[in-house]
Subunit: 352 residues, 2 copies
DNA sequence: ACCGTCTCGGAGAGCGCTCTCCGACGTGTG
DNA sequence: CACACGTCGGAGAGCGCTCTCCGAGACGGT
């Protein structure tokens, strides 16, 4: 606990372009040209200007610049949650999940080299959504990365309607002409199903996420399709909400309804962790009695015991790609809308 | 893959204050007053203005407003890493760690209700640091939350020198007159030591983090102090870097050098996870042969098997508090510098 | 010697907003 | 009836920057 006054540089006006111009003995325009490296300026003036910049300690004011250039050097990361409202504890869970961090990490790996900062926005209410779109139209950010949460979100449509450069991570629930980067979730589920079947499992169940999340839904359909191909028209299914607890509960349900289950595909690693607990409680060994395949290849997968065989989700790469896509889109607004789908791979460990 | 033109509202200029004024038949100043709810404006004009706003679909331009008010409604979250440089893979690890997400979640819980957005900045190089400070002086953000990484970081000092409102999460390595929010790491370590001793452990070791991180260092000194008080002047120590792998390695080292170890305090849960693996490999049961206490109470702690007894680190609360502190500081720049230290608690589970 | 042509720097008009004046008007007082 | 006083809206000067003109000068061709 130290006391202090905060030493505000009261009245100490920061040097402006005008000041630099005065010191260098040229006009504002010339300084601006030099600073922005534009065209042919006499080398001598060029040097005088840089000297003046050094002398005054001038730093351009990004705000003022943005006002006229309509470029901010900022990309917004909006976490849109159309269902929940302001103080929803759900958001806490969301941020604690590695998903968020991995996305941010992937985005930043591209953005930071481009010198662009990420502005995090959470929108829940209708009003916030409208305000966000309004701000974006004004060029508050050069573009936006949308992370869509459960439910049918009106935001993607609103964004495309006003022509704001946008890229979604994860396919939008409703068909919207928007760039997106996604994982072939169905293929991933197929991988899991194939592996469990090849392993000799006879009764294979699935623990799914909420059906209204496209990614989750795709995993279900992919799994069912693959299982059907292997001659299992019907598969036992229990659903959770991607949390560990829900995975535990779902596993118990599955076990109760299908005591003979000897293989299970869990739609994300966190739920798989919970499922593992439930199996242990039930006295089933993994993988001997029940084989398990997770999804995401998160750090939880290697931390689990037994370590989880899981479908690898290259989230960082996808986030990085979405950043690249957005940047390209910003540079060329006429760019046609395109999306890139990543193929998942199966990572073999001990659980199956 | 859909094709489209991106529907830019070319030439469709957004309505400005001027436009609203024209429609309402008043002056710009009056519209501004109404929009900002200032002073006594004739109720009739008041209504006319709001009608005009509705008619035109006017949305204030935050940039333009910020330019004159010197307020942006943005707080910067800077992750300062004085040691590493641009493409350091370390950052990837950092973001994937729940630490980052928990901090963001805590910050946002406060900021979003205040209608403030978070701008994420990563600064590695000297140049980036200077630029950041320059931008901040210009009011690019109203204040900044600093997340300090390993090493002695010059950023806190730079920030206070120019009088930018700033709050650190985690005590600065060097004494700097800056607001910060921290955890009583030493107390937490004492808690762990006391518990292991009370449990009857005879030879208690520690797996620490890097010594140059203040938080990590405090855990070491706290642990040593408490152990000394219990009559153990010397304690076996192995250090890691907070990753799971490093925890595994450290545990092996500890085991090799002190085969009789029957208790271990691990400076974070992630390393504890690794240590658990190493112990299993070595055929030691937890907690029967070796008792273990972790630190953080992260999701990894409950996911581990056995579930980890750990020191709870109320990171979300701390982040929220730091946001509150910053907001207060922004409102009242003369506020004296103060810091708040949180007390950790021990969460008992199975590992000890 | 005259006239395009080209190079390069300056003047100045904004970008969209806020906020300080200042003047107009209405009311109460000597 | 003249004057002070208070209320409220408008004019206009910025905030710090960019960028489009435009004019001055240099240069070469006829």
């Amino acid at each position: 606990m130290t006391a202090g006054t905060g030493r505000l540089p009261v009245g100490e006006r920061l040097p402006t372009l005008e000041d630099v111009a005065r010191v260098a003995g040229v006009s504002r325009a010339t300084v601006s040209r030099v600073i922005n490296g534009i065209r042919n300026v006499d080398p001598q003036l060029h040097e005088m200007v840089w000297n003046a910049v050094g002398q005054t300690g001038y730093v351009p004011n990004r705000l003022a610049r943005s006002l006229v250039t309509r470029r901010t050097g900022t990309v917004a990361l909006v976490v849109s949650d159309s269902e929940s409202h302001d103080d929803d504890p759900f958001m806490g869970r969301f941020f604690a999940d590695p998903y968020f961090g991995r996305v941010v990490g992937g985005l930043m790996s591209v953005l930071r080299t481009a010198g662009i900062q990420l502005a995090l926005q959470i929108v829940g209410t209708e009003e916030q959504r409208t305000r966000l779109v309004g701000d974006l139209r004004h060029g508050q950010a050069d573009g936006v990365i949308v992370l869509s949460l459960p439910g049918h979100d009106p935001l993607p449509r609103m964004l495309t309607d006003v022509g704001v450069p946008a890229v979604m991570i994860g396919r939008p629930a409703d068909p919207v002409p928007i760039n997106y980067v996604d994982l072939a979730n169905d293929t991933g589920a197929c991988l899991a199903a194939d592996h469990l079947v090849e392993r000799g499992c006879q009764l294979i169940g699935m623990i799914s996420g909420p059906a209204d999340v496209p990614a989750s839904n795709d995993r279900i359909t992919g799994f069912r399709r693959s299982m059907a191909r292997h001659g299992h028209a019907w598969v036992p299914l229990a659903s959770g909400n991607f949390t560990q607890e829900s995975g535990e509960t779902a596993m118990r349900t599955l076990l109760a309804e299908n005591p003979g289950v000897d293989g299970v595909f869990v739609a994300n690693d966190l739920m798989a962790l919970g499922a593992l607990l439930a199996l242990r409680d039930a006295g089933r060994r993994v993988p001997d009695d029940v084989a398990m395949v997770g999804f995401d290849d998160s750090s939880a997968a290697v931390a689990a015991s037994p370590a989880l065989t899981t479908v690898r989700h290259p989230l960082e790469d996808m986030a990085a790609e979405s950043a690249r896509l957005l940047l390209a889109r910003i540079d060329d607004p006429g760019m046609r809308i395109s999306s890139v789908i990543y193929e998942p791979t199966l990572v073999l460990r001990q659980s199956a």
